[in-house]
Each structure stands twice: as C-alpha cells, then as structure tokens.
C-alpha cells in the first residue's frame, strides 16, 4: 500500500497551502520523519515530514502550486512497489472536497488504470518505477482565496493516540503543540517522545531592517501572510460593528509582585508584564462569556475554553500565538509557554498548535513605549484587549502628588455580541485583577 501524503492542516482557518519546495525528489529514498517538503501556509513556511519510509513515487503537486488542505501532494511507496501516479493525480484532481481518493490507490493494480501504469513503467523492470508527472490544473478554481474564510474553530484538533495523550498529559505538555507524523497526521507515542527530548530553540536576535534609499516607487508583492492579514482585518472592519472602551490601570502592585516573583527564578523563567495581562484577561473572561465568544448569525457561541491569542510581531506581519486554557494555568506555565512559542515563531519553526484555537486576543505594544492604541478584532473572536506601556506618572493620592505606575488598556468588542456596559464591566474586572495581583496567584 503506498502512503499518500496530503496537504496538512496547520491551523483552524487554513484552507490551502502552497508547495514551496520538494526537498525529496521523485525516486529519492526517504525515511519516516525526514523533511519531505516545505509548504507555505497563510501564516508561515513549515516543513512537512515524511509519514513513512520508502521511495518518493511521485509528486502530484508542482512547486509554487497551491492546493486545498487534505489534497494529495505526494506518494511514498516501497522501492519495488508499482504506483500509478497518473491515476492518483487524476482522482486527486476530482477530489473537490479536498479529501484524498484512497480507493483509487487501492485499486491501482487492476483495471485500465493499472494497465496504463504498467505501460508507463520502464521495460527493464529494475529500479524505482518511473512516473510521468504533468502540471496539474486547479479545476478552474482560483488558487488563492479559495475555501471558507472563517471556519468555526476545530473542536478536537489533530488526532492523537491515547498513549500519546497520556504521555503528554503526564509531561504537562499540550498535545496539540506536538506535530503528528502518524497516519493522517496522528500524534503517536514516538512523536511525544521526540517532542519531549528535543532542545528548545533559542530566540534569535532580531536584526534591524536597513531601509533602501530609492526615489523609485517599488511594488512589493504581498506575501501570503500579508494577504491573510489584509483579508481578515478588512473583513473585521467591514463586517464587525466594533466599539471601544478604555481605562487606566494602576500597575504599581502588579509591577511589585512581578519584581518579587522574578527575584526567585532564573532569567529564562522570568515573568513579563504581558504574562500578567494574559492571566488577568483569562480569569475575567470566565465571568464574561460574551467576551469569550463568536457571533454565529442566529446565535452567539460561548467558547468552552479560554484560549488567549497573543499578537507577536514578525518580519512582514504578525502571528497570534495561543495560550490554551490560560484561565487554568499558573503564571509560570503561561510564561514558559509564551517564551517557547515566541521563540518558535521568531525562528520560523511555528507548530500548528501554536497559532490556532484562540478565543480572545491581547495585543501589547508597551515595549514600543506606546501610551494607548486600539486593536482590530481578530474574527471570529468577539473582543480584543490592547495595552500600552506601564508608565511612571504623577498621581494624586490623599491630596498630594505622588509617583505612580499606570497602564492604559482598551477593549474592542463586537456589538452584535456584547454591549458597552458589559465590556466596561469586563474591563473593570481585568483592572481589578491587575490592581490586586495576588488574585492572579490563586
């Protein structure tokens, strides 16, 4: 049985991906787990590992071609196995719903298709079977922008074997962060073992961009990430009636708590202000289901989990890394996950679980000395929290001017789901958690 390699799904809203580079060529031997190809999703370039050992029998997709998630990309088989790639390509072309035509693969040895394959095979009979690959047309569908723009967040995520779930849970790792290499992308015991044993990538030092001085206008083609941001933000501003509520938060106690906590831990485990904001927002969301929700046409969907997306700036755009179940995680866990995810994002090694499943987002521009800004809601979420820098400001206390530390926070909310008063009460709750920060430790 040949192993069919589909376009993997690496995010809940990923509808298609582009084959950037065939790392293994036709006829080349490949080991299970080796990098087979590089693909580009809307958000990042990702390496695809071979799901099985064998020989690359053929590529069904050309470099630069975009295909829907689940569509057949390549076939791996045993060295002496006869595989009718042409037939598989033909059936892949007809698979409009993006599923692979497995039946065709099983029926290959018989019938007309099988006869065609044996004619195409080299007469010598030795060595790997040669297959003819023709460029594939997209069935008239435009390659970019096809498929649903906003899909409901997938509930279960990638499939994982029970032993893999058990091992991940015992190790305190979110199973969805682990890339699956089993059949159909299943996360197996081996994947967990490999994940747990691999060294954490270090965040590379950002290199400052040097602007090119030129009097000519330059056209810069949009990257897929830029296209996605353009599409999503336009859609958000055009279809979501957003309103904004802001407040000032006294951060003195939070900064003092952070200073104390950080004096106990080594550099790599230190908490950021953002980690406190994530936790405060997550706890507040538990009491405000309308802010942790999606508008569903004739209904509002209150999300069961509180997964906080965090906008992370990268070259050419931004990605949202997601702390799952942030309401139930300790500050230490949140800090560790954020460090790992941001490291991966900046290293270009993002994993599917890092960037999907968020139910509410926070965006913090405090490190750029921003006082205050307003963020655009990231659909299908119902709200986003934007925070500026924690500033030393003069405040009046008991009739005297004393030094204080303040931060401005703005929540943008979907008026179809919630209203000004409720958003204000939510913001009050976030503010209270930050102003009485010992509650974040409970």
């Amino acid at each position: 049985m040949p192993e069919l390699v589909p376009m993997p799904k690496l995010g809940f809203d990923m509808a298609e991906g582009t084959l950037v580079r065939k790392v293994k060529q036709d006829g080349e031997a490949v080991k299970k787990g080796e990098v087979l190809a590089e693909i580009e999703t809307d958000k990042a370039t990702v390496e695809v590992e071979a799901p099985a050992s064998g020989v690359v029998k053929g590529w069904v997709v050309d470099e630069g071609q975009a295909v829907p998630v689940g569509a057949l990309m390549a076939i791996i088989g045993a060295p002496d196995e006869q595989v009718d790639v042409a037939a598989l390509k033909a059936s892949a072309g007809h698979a409009q719903d993006g599923t692979m035509a497995k039946a065709a693969a099983e029926e290959v040895p018989q019938g007309a298709a099988g006869a065609a394959a044996s004619q195409a095979a080299p007469q010598s009979g030795a060595g790997p079977a040669q297959v003819e690959i023709r460029p594939q047309k997209q069935n008239g569908k435009p390659p970019a922008g096809a498929g649903p723009e906003i899909a409901p967040a997938a509930g279960g995520g990638a499939p994982a074997s029970p032993i893999a779930r058990k091992m991940a849970s015992e190790a305190g790792v979110d199973i969805q962060q682990i890339p699956g290499t089993g059949p159909g992308g299943r996360i197996t015991k081996k994947d967990v073992e490999q994940y747990l044993s691999r060294p954490q990538p270090a965040a590379p030092v950002a290199t400052p961009a040097v602007p090119t001085v030129s009097s000519q206008d330059q056209e810069v083609p949009l990257t897929r990430l830029r296209q996605l941001i353009a599409r999503r933000m336009t859609e958000s501003k055009q279809t979501v009636p957003q309103f904004y509520v802001n407040t000032e938060v006294d951060m003195a106690a939070a900064m003092e708590l952070r200073r104390q906590l950080n004096s106990f831990v080594p550099e790599e485990r230190k908490l950021s202000v953002n980690d406190l904001i994530i936790k405060a927002a997550a706890l507040a969301l538990r009491d405000f289901p309308n802010l942790n929700a999606s508008f569903g046409g004739d209904k509002v969907v209150h999300k069961g989990r509180v997964n906080i997306g965090n906008a992370v700036a990268i070259e050419g755009g931004l990605l949202t890394v997601v702390v799952k179940d942030a309401d139930q995680k300790s500050l230490g866990q949140i800090a560790a996950e954020m460090k790992a995810m941001v490291g991966r994002v900046r290293a270009g090694k993002v994993q599917g679980g890092d960037i999907e499943g968020s139910t509410f987002s926070v965006s913090n521009l405090g490190m750029y000395d921003v006082d205050h800004f307003i963020a655009i809601i990231n659909p299908p979420e119902a709200a986003i929290l934007a925070t500026g820098a924690v500033k030393q400001v003069p405040v009046i206390k008991d009739g005297a001017v004393v030094p204080g530390q303040r931060m401005l926070a703005t929540v943008s909310a979907d008026h179809r789901v919630t209203d000004g008063a409720e958003a204000a009460r939510f913001l009050q709750a976030v503010k209270q958690y930050l102003e009485e920060p010992m509650r974040l430790l409970l």
């Binding site: 074997s161 029970p162 032993i163 893999a164 058990k166 299943r186 197996t188 015991k189």
Partner: protein, 324 residues
C-alpha cells in the same frame, strides 16, 4: 528432551492416560481397528481392547451423546469427531448437554468428557470440510476450548483435559500433525488449561494468536526481525477460558497489537481480543488494533484461491507494518 511430532505427542498423552486410569476410554469413527483418521490411535485397539477403544457408526450426535452419558456415569471418555465441520451434527450434545448439565442440575453431575477434533483448511477439502469455526464453540460458557500449537502444548494440555472435571473441546490442527518439537517425557507433564504463553518476547508489537497461526506468525516475525521490528508473540492456547493477562502486560509495553486467526474476521477471536484490549488498555493505545483473518468467503477448492484466502506470513507482516 525427546523430539516428536504433534501426532506422537497426542498419541502419547492418550496412551499414558489410558495406562494410568482404567476409566479413560476412546470412542469415534475409525478410532479402533483402523487406528484413527490421522493415525493418532494406531495400536490402541490391540493393546487396550475393543471395550475401551470403540468404533462407532458415522453418527456424531451418538458419539458425543454416548460420551456425555458415560462421563455422567463415572467414565472419562475421549470422543473423537473426525473434523470440527462434523461437530455441527453434534451441536446439541456439545453445547446443550456437555456444556450445561453440570450447572443445570445444581452440580449433581460432572461431565468430564474430552471431545478431540481437527480444525483448519489448506488441504483442498472444499468449503464444508475446511472450516475453522473454533470461536463458535468458544461462545458457550461451560465448555473449555483448547487449541495447541506445539507438540509439548498438545501433550500437556490434553493430559490436563482428560484429568480435569469439565467438558473440553480439544482442537488439533489438521495440517500440523507432522510438526516437530521437544516434549517432556514425564508421564505427569501437565499444562494448566487457561494460561496464555509468550512464545517470543519482543518490544514493538504484540501479536496475539493460537493454533497453526502461531507457526505462520513466527515465520513473519523472523522476517520482521530482519527489518528491525521486534514482535512479541502470545499463544492463547485456549479460547475459553481466555487468558489475556499476558496480552495486557505486553500491550502496555508495546502499545500496538495485531491479532492473527485462521477463521473469519467477523465476530472472531480478533474481535474479542481487540475489544478487551480497548476496554482494559485504552490509555495505552498508539495505533488502531489490526486483525488478520481468513477472507470472508466459503473456502475455495482451488489450491491458489484457498491459499490466498487463508492468512499467510505476508498478511501478518502487512498488519504489523500498519501499526508501527
């Protein structure tokens, strides 16, 4: 340790038990003067006499019915049904009488009968004479169903069956009588019925099987070993009682299982064992459990078709590779 065939091991077990206990008798078609369809009882008639080695008419209901009555009255009959296909003619005597009398009469009677028979295909005997319906009999509480894979197991389990107090269906494989192996010479060599046996330890995949498929599996495992896949092979030895303790222990180590049986897949040994693994070891699963079984057709007469319908080493290898 002496090396002998399964035929010799079964014969030796019967001979020793008849020598030991005058209540042990044999009855069946051609078991006496002819010496048995598979020559297992050759010489018994001359040595033990017509009283204890009885030729019967071709009437399976009579063979088992008489044996059940004899067992209820104190004898230790070993009834022989030429092949398990003919056991259907004695179904009522086996599953309603032998299996149930002890419990239905409040324990007043014991039915210590052993019904020896042969199962399995591969000899071009056609659809009605080549079946492996072992599980049908294992379905009934009250009846023990034993099916050994080696000469030593055949001897030790048959002697335990004869000495035991319960009805036992003892299934020998019709194509394995020439299989050789070491067998303890001890006249009291007994193997307990209801204990699975790890025939080969391994770490990557647990293969659960019994009877002739142990042999087929061992061939497959040798090839897989060359490819670096280390299989643990567990021989069930009896389908009832079904001893899955060693299977669970193995599965918790390997997280993957393949079940190999000669009979059909539907409602088979694989279905039962897989279901129990799912029940007992769910958190240890790393891949869906695979079943290797006979193609779901009446077994063809044609040699090539028959061969392709019965599981062989290639089928086992494919199933193992599907889980690793």
């Amino acid at each position: 340790m002496p090396v002998m065939t399964i035929r010799e091991a079964v014969s030796q077990a019967l001979w020793e038990e008849m020598e030991r206990d005058p209540n042990v008798i044999i009855l069946g078609e051609e078991v006496g003067m002819w010496g048995g369809t598979y020559a297992v009882t050759k010489g018994f008639y001359d040595h033990f006499g017509a009283e204890r080695v009885r030729d019967t008419p071709i009437a399976e209901g009579v063979i088992v019915g008489a044996a059940v009555g004899a067992a209820m009255n104190g004898l230790k009959p070993v009834a022989e049904i030429m092949t398990i296909n003919f056991a259907f003619l004695a179904m009522d005597q086996i599953v309603n009488h032998a299996a149930k009398i002890h419990s239905m009469f409040g324990g007043q009677f014991e039915v210590p009968v052993v019904i020896r028979t042969t199962s399995g295909g591969g000899k071009q005997l056609g659809a009605t004479h080549s079946q492996t319906p072992d599980v049908i009999f294992a379905h009934f509480p009250g009846l023990k169903v034993v099916a050994p894979a080696t000469p030593a197991d055949a001897k030790g389990l048959l002697k335990s069956a004869i000495r035991g107090r319960d009805p036992v269906l003892f299934i020998e494989h019709s194509t394995m009588y020439q299989e050789r192996g070491e067998v303890p010479a001890d006249k009291d060599f007994l193997l307990p019925i209801g204990k699975s046996d790890v025939k080969r330890p391994g770490n990557d995949v647990t293969i659960v099987t019994y009877s002739k498929m142990v042999q087929i599996t061992m061939r497959a495992v040798k090839q897989l070993e060359a490819e670096g896949i280390d299989c643990e092979v567990i021989d069930l030895r009896s389908l009832r009682p079904l001893d899955l303790g060693p299977v669970y222990a193995s599965f918790k180590k390997t997280n993957r299982a393949v079940i190999v049986e000669e009979g059909w897949r539907s409602y088979g040994v694989g279905a039962e064992v897989a279901a129990r693994i799912y029940e007992e070891c769910f958190d240890y699963l790393d891949a869906p459990i695979q079943r290797v079984a006979q193609k779901e057709v009446p077994l063809p007469y044609s040699a090539d078709l028959e061969k392709s319908a019965i599981p062989g080493p290639a089928d086992v290898i494919a199933a193992v590779k599907a889980v690793v």
